[in-house]
Symmetry: C2
Subunit: 122 residues, 2 copies
Amino acid sequence: MDRGNAFDPDCPTRVVLDRIGDKWTVLVIGALEDGPLRFTEVRTRIGGVAPKVLTQTLRAMERDGLLTRTVHAQVPPRVDYELTALGTSLTAPIAMLTDWAESHLTQILASREGYDAALDAR
Amino acid sequence: MDRGNAFDPDCPTRVVLDRIGDKWTVLVIGALEDGPLRFTEVRTRIGGVAPKVLTQTLRAMERDGLLTRTVHAQVPPRVDYELTALGTSLTAPIAMLTDWAESHLTQILASREGYDAALDAR
DNA sequence: CGGCATCCTCTGGGATACTG
DNA sequence: CAGTATCCCAGAGGATGCCG
């Protein structure tokens, strides 16, 4: 099997991994899973995101077709973000990952403790 | 469902995402899937990794219990890296991700083209 | 061979302030 | 409200060289 080329920006795995590895994308998907939200709603639901960073994340996801950005011409402005079918389909693999994470976290943390303890002992 | 807290370093999802999102971890897992390899073998198989960076990656993975590092006392030195059961179990969720990536890459790239074209038009 | 040590660059991410 | 404009920083990632 071809492992892919980490340097080829068009390598499928890289494309997805770059987005998944991003600090906020997964949280945004989680926030929008239950339906469309406005900018501020996403912001407060996630918590701790600087507006600039959230905008970056949302724009990148929009560019990749993971969500749609709908501007309602009214005052005050209202912008809705909603997952596309593509974005929704990503929730499945992500769920696999979080499931794995939850069921193996204990092992991982234990391993870290052991590793660090061994280092301290030296 | 609890979306998790991106600031809690012990949030299961964060722990895994941090490792997955890392540029080399997934490649290393792929390289070791078929059996143990020596440092240089991993290096050449992946291609383009600086030794320092590969070491960092391998150490982090060892710390998390994803692989074992075995030093053979001989000259010249020989160090084998091998996936643990934990590391191997990670290949499943990763496969989900790469599968998703491969089957949706076309959509993503098309979306990007459209997005960028719309920007240029302005 | 399998690394440390060093130095450097780049950019993801953030704090803050301002505006259509 | 929904951003944009600035400035800033830590750290991931990389290039190079030396060593047990």
